[in-house]
């Protein structure tokens, strides 16, 4: 997109301002988390790690982190299994036949989570899944499926359908074709989907607000209470840990993509 035509000074100015607006406020979390004061502020006299120490000394924070991690792992496994198979099925079946299924799989991205959370509150009450690990894992898994379907579909778009035909033509069953031909080829796409499904569950708050109370208390839930009740630098430290963790996952995704491209 160059060809001797570049953006003007005005648009470049807005673009720079917008990127700074996007990135800078997030970076403010770092100095605040290192403050030596007891309240939200920039470091006054020295940098301090006491707020990080607070987190790791607090059983409540550690429990929340542990629970969120466990939930994210379980829901990601479920979403990856269901989403990958579904994407492969849709890819292989004719577009018209599977179009409805594809749209269905994208619904969680379109319908606001508040609506789903309200419905879940009632539905899980009937199924006795309120405030239970399994309930949250299932809810996060279902809403994580779209991310997997999208990334796996993208990987499949680059997959030569004749390889599947070749495998079937040589006598491979559906299971053998999946295991030996299709899955090894789209593994990076599946990994990307898994990473995004993981981040989705790890950050999810709205459903958790409705379907959990005491037994399940995730990290976002604890942060939410923290923001609404006592704004202190510990929150900044937690936020910073979250940012670093997310950046790590995104870096992993980038590394996988580069490997796929190579």
């Amino acid at each position: 997109m160059t060809g001797g035509y570049g953006a003007g000074r005005f648009s470049r100015g807005i673009a720079w301002a917008t990127v700074l607006y996007l990135v800078l406020p997030i970076t403010i979390v770092l100095p605040v988390s290192l403050t030596d004061q007891r309240f939200l502020s920039l470091p006054q006299e020295a940098l301090s790690l006491r707020h990080y120490a607070n987190i790791f000394a607090s059983p409540a924070w550690l429990a929340a982190i542990g629970q969120s991690f466990g939930l994210a792992v379980v829901s990601t496994l479920l979403a990856v299994a269901a989403g990958t198979l579904c994407a492969i099925g849709c890819w292989r079946l004719s577009r018209r036949a599977s179009d409805l299924v594809r749209v269905l799989m994208l619904l969680p991205l379109i319908i606001p989570s508040i609506v789903y959370a309200v419905g879940l509150y009632r539905w899980f009450g009937k199924l006795d899944l309120l405030d239970r690990f399994l309930g949250v894992a299932l809810a996060h898994a279902v809403t994580g499926i779209p991310y997997v379907v999208i990334t796996v579909s993208a990987a499949l778009a680059a997959f030569d359908p004749r390889l599947e035909q070749a495998a079937r033509g040589m006598g491979a069953s559906l299971g053998q074709t999946l295991r030996w031909v299709i899955l090894p080829r789209i593994a990076p796409g599946i990994a990307s989907g898994a990473i995004f499904a993981f981040i989705h569950s790890w950050d999810e708050l709205v459903m958790v607000l409705f379907i959990t109370s005491r037994q399940v208390f995730t990290l976002p839930r604890k942060m939410w209470d923290g923001i609404n009740e006592n704004l202190d630098p510990t929150m900044a430290a937690v936020a910073m840990l979250l940012v670093v963790f997310t950046l790590g996952l995104l870096w992993l995704d980038g590394a996988l993509r580069r490997k796929r491209a190579a």
Binding site: D160, Q165, A166
Partner: protein
């Protein structure tokens, strides 16, 4: 490779018959009522331009596409409903469809692995198959590290390693350059002779079809137009399409004016065109329009005073030289432009534009052909 030698008492290949095979996509008919049979050990080529339905037929034989009507019989057994993995056919795909994440040996071993063969038995067969295509040294390479010709051979080895009932080839040579294509045609033909299997090949390359096949089936707009040996098809095309698609032809249109035993004559303007009619061939009635196909290489340049069954005068409108001969386009009054191929070393003239010439050919040089049924 554990293939039985062709001299074994039982035929090594299997016979395939298609009856009334039809495939429709909505309102569009890709293949219409095709009936064909291939004898055991034969090399059949489905030949046609793109969109003629030849690949759809192959895909139905392989089991990837379900026929809308008709049936597929293997040695008399109906296999129309069998899924591809249960047909036991070897297939070389267009572009080869080698698994890029597996080595050459793993690719070739794949059909054996899905059949649950033990590792040792697999290795022996893979080695034999790679030997057969002279690729034993490349067993540990990935497909991307091979040339196009080598990839094609891997695809062949992979299609043959499990002793398939049939070998299906979908445009196996179309991705290669012309010279390599010629070499691999020879190899493919030799391989077919050596292992005696039944091969079904799909191509749009008429030269490849003539060189490789025992039998050629010509398809156009989803219909089977004519089938036969390469020689039959070239020498006695049944329709204008076949005469034009297989090699080149001049078409001579006229009205039937004389019918005698063994011959007839058409009148095109003032030119009388004599046509031999072999014993038992269908005859055209007096006064009806007739169409003849005439190969450019069967026309000769008449020396002054020389006579032929049919003679026509004209002048050279265009000419070109291409090593083995001259191509002339001769403008005539009654027959339009006639294309003539002259062997260069025997050419009596050095052509120039506007040069008057006299052309002639014997009565058995041309053949009557039918107009195409779908012609608009």
């Amino acid at each position: 490779m554990t293939l039985p030698p062709p001299s074994a008492s039982a035929p090594a290949g299997h016979a395939l018959a298609l009856t009334g095979l039809t495939r429709r996509y909505g309102a569009f008919t890709a293949v219409q009522d095709v009936s064909l049979s291939v004898a055991s050990g034969q090399f059949l080529t489905l030949l046609g331009p793109s969109g003629s339905g030849k690949t759809t037929i192959l895909m139905m034989v392989a089991g990837f596409t379900e026929p809308s009507a008709g049936s597929i019989l293997l040695d008399g057994r109906d296999i129309t409903a069998l899924p591809p993995e249960r047909r036991d056919f070897g297939m070389v795909f267009q572009g080869y469809a080698l698994f890029p994440h597996m080595t050459v040996a793993e690719n070739v071993s794949f059909p054996l692995r899905v059949r649950g063969l033990a590792r040792a038995a697999r290795d022996a067969k893979v080695r034999a198959a790679l030997d057969l295509v002279q690729l034993d040294r490349f067993a540990d390479r990935k497909p991307a590290q091979l040339s196009g010709g080598q990839q094609q051979r891997v695809a062949l080895a992979r299609a043959l390693v499990f002793d398939p009932a049939l070998l299906l080839l979908d445009e196996p040579l179309s991705a290669l350059d012309k010279k390599l294509r010629g070499e691999l045609q020879e190899e493919l033909k030799a391989l077919h002779r050596r292992i005696g299997r039944t091969f079904i090949n799909v191509t749009h390359d008429q030269e490849e079809a003539l060189r490789l096949s025992d039998r050629v089936a010509i398809l156009d707009h989803g219909r089977l137009v004519q089938q036969g040996s390469p020689l039959e098809l070239y020498e006695r095309p049944a329709t204008r399409f076949v005469a034009d698609f297989l090699g080149r032809s001049n078409f001579l249109a006229g009205t039937v004016r004389e019918v005698r035993p063994g011959a007839m004559a058409l009148l095109a303007g003032a030119t009388r065109v004599v046509q031999a009619v072999p014993e038992g061939a269908p005859r055209l009635a007096l006064g009806t329009p007739g169409l003849l196909a005439l190969r450019p290489e069967k026309i000769t340049l008449l020396a002054p005073g020389e006579a032929a069954d049919t003679e026509v005068a004209g002048e050279i409108a265009a000419w070109s030289y291409h090593g083995t001969g001259f191509s002339l386009a001769v403008q005539t009054t009654d027959l339009g432009i006639l294309h003539v191929a002259l062997p260069a070393w025997r050419a009596a003239i050095s052509p120039t534009e506007g040069m008057p010439v006299r052309l002639g050919w014997p009565a058995d040089a041309s053949v009557p052909v039918a107009e195409d049924s779908h012609a608009a």
